[in-house]
């Protein structure tokens, strides 16, 4: 034990240690619902013992809009409008599993061209969602610069989505049996349907190459940053077993070493025609979760580039009855959304709308792991862990 007050030891001041255990009373810390790092309105009530967090209770419901109830009084085409507001950062990809479910029950074969357009826009939604994550997460752990790059790059992708669908966040572009004619495609009379706006292929190629460039830039700018590594490596480690029991899916699960990607497993979109990798992490820590998403952006861009080169021609819509009635039956369709498994369990009684629509969202299950991950974590790590889950409250509360 160094006597810190002895002038001889003044140079070693930093080595002086305090051997007294300070006992502190637990403090209850309320975070949110209007905290900038909560991606909406999540509220956490945490007990804090000094710097250590324990007994975290997430409080939900500030964004609950009751979509499952609303779906019971709407017809199938009207529900598309509702569901793309669930995860508004990737609005387009919310529509896909619902539409695919209705089509499955009605036994409609969707034209290949419509499927390709859906796939391209889904991947663009994934890219734009991961851009938001990249910028926001860096910001949350203390790096201000990346969000400006991320938002600028995302805008390029959103412009493309807008040029086709007419909406930046809420496309409402899918129809049962296909997609609607694109917004910027000129007159949409029956004989002259132009489905994609002029110059779309060219602009997409440019934008996707920029995405690959941007991902590389993020790897240097964020991933190569010593402070970022210190704040995220070995922080918030999640094991694959816990993740599975809690239904945690998507990039978070893959970061924990599980090579699970619903794009390869289900046939809701023709992913099997394309060549891409599934990035998987090793440690399941915050850094891996970030890393997996950056690599995913590159893979998504590659898929889009391939899809554009192999775009089939043909109609955009299958033949569907004018009044859409879905036959009696039940089905569950799930899809790999930017945040994980999203699925709709449709119970149809043969009417104009579903008797019951269960919406399974990724963020709901992903956030339910928070109390486990934050148990015993340091207070400064709380934001780092929470941010790495990349949730959107619309997706949690529905």
């Amino acid at each position: 034990m160094i006597n810190a007050l002895d002038p001889q030891n003044m140079n070693n001041f930093s080595e002086a240690s305090v051997s007294v255990e300070i006992e502190t009373e637990d403090m209850t810390l309320n975070i949110g619902p209007q905290h900038p790092s909560t991606h909406g309105v999540l509220r956490l009530v945490a007990k804090v013992d000094g710097e250590k967090v324990h007994d975290v209770k997430p409080v939900l419901g500030y964004m609950h809009r009751g979509y499952e109830k609303l779906a019971e009084v709407r017809t199938y085409p009207q529900i598309t409008t509702l569901v793309n507001r669930i995860d508004w950062v990737a609005g387009f990809s919310n529509e896909i599993p619902f539409i695919a479910g209705a089509e499955r029950l009605m036994e409609i074969e969707v034209p290949e061209r419509a499927k390709h357009i859906r796939l391209i826009l889904t991947e663009m939604a994934r890219i734009s969602s991961h851009f938001v994550f990249n910028g926001a997460y860096a910001l949350e752990v203390g790096a201000l610069t990346p969000i400006f790059y991320a938002m600028e790059d995302r805008e390029r992708v959103l412009d493309l989505i807008e040029s086709v669908t007419g909406g930046r966040f809420h496309p409402n572009f899918n129809r049962i049996g296909g997609v609607k004619p694109a917004a910027g495609a000129g007159p949409t009379s029956k004989k002259n349907i132009q489905d994609l706006p002029a110059g779309f292929y060219r602009d997409t190629k440019v934008a996707m190459e920029k995405v690959i460039e941007a991902a590389d830039q993020f790897q240097n700018l964020i991933g190569g940053n010593e402070v970022f590594k210190k704040r995220t490596k070995n922080v918030g480690v999640l094991t694959a077993e816990t993740a599975e029991a809690y239904g945690v899916s998507g990039p978070i699960l893959r970061a924990s070493g599980v090579k699970s990607d619903l794009r390869t497993q289900t046939d809701y979109l023709p992913y099997d025609q394309f060549d891409y990798d599934i990035p998987v992490g090793e440690n399941g820590d915050c850094y891996d979760r970030w890393d997996v998403r950056v690599k995913e952006m590159v893979e998504s861009a590659k898929i889009v580039l391939q899809a554009i080169d192999s775009m089939p021609s043909g109609p955009l819509q299958a033949k569907v009855p004018k009044v859409i009635k879905v036959p009696k039956g039940r089905t569950y369709v799930r899809a790999e959304n930017p945040k994980g498994e999203m699925g709709y369990y449709i119970i149809s009684d043969g009417g104009l709308g579903p008797y019951r629509l269960k919406v399974r969202t990724a963020s709901f299950s992903n956030v339910s792991i928070l109390p486990i991950m934050l148990e015993g974590a340091l207070l400064p790590d709380l934001i780092a862990i929470m941010g790495s889950l990349d949730f959107v409250l619309g997706d949690v509360d529905r």
């Binding site: 419901g61 497993q265 299958a318 369990y345 709308g353 299950s365």
Partner: protein, 181 residues
């Protein structure tokens, strides 16, 4: 999927494969055992979701079932195996007068929030649940909004404007059956 379905059918006789989804029905007394079996023997370790359905012919919202159903709650879970495509939907029926069922938390820890949601939305009691509190709804909220008898107030006081939107576009008037040819 066929192979998995045949394996399931050996253990669960009334398994049905329709619309690419395997549905099995179990008795509510075997709720826990069935899930343990599916988790351990069929490797369905991924807990996707749990929810419920209110079956009733007397409804205040939406369309009533066309055939007469005996009023009950159907509790549904969805489990899957992430290594491949295996996915199963398990359901059971419980009475409406005293709706209760064992909590699945000991089998799947992730059932916690899903059960809390089903509790507040349908009024189902999950026995042995550690904190069966409200998840979304504010404290003091009365009623269970997802019940078919629970009225959607906004729809009661104002007619749905979407109802008028059933006429086709003028140029489409000649074809009634299909939208495209």
């Amino acid at each position: 999927m066929e192979e998995f379905y045949n394996n399931i059918k050996e253990s669960f006789k009334d398994a049905v494969l329709e619309f690419e989804t395997i549905n099995i029905k179990v008795d509510s007394t075997e709720w826990i055992e069935a899930h343990k079996k599916l988790r351990d023997e069929f490797n369905l370790k991924f807990f996707s979701w749990l929810s419920a359905v209110d079956w009733d012919n007397d409804v205040s919202v939406g369309e009533a079932p066309k055939e007469s159903v005996s009023p009950c709650f159907e509790v549904i879970t969805c489990l899957s195996d992430l290594a491949n495509t295996n996915l199963i939907v398990v359901s059971t029926s419980i009475g409406k007068s005293d709706p209760k069922i064992d909590s699945l938390i000991e089998v799947y820890a992730g059932a916690n929030w899903h059960e809390r949601e089903a509790h507040e939305m349908f009024g189902i009691n999950f026995e042995n649940h550690p904190n069966l509190e409200k998840l979304y709804l504010p404290d003091g909220y009365e009623g269970n909004p997802m019940l078919k008898s629970f009225e959607l107030i906004s729809r009661e006081v104002k007619p749905w404007p979407g109802d008028v939107d059933v006429e086709g576009m003028p140029e489409e008037s000649e074809s009634d059956e299909t939208t495209d040819d």
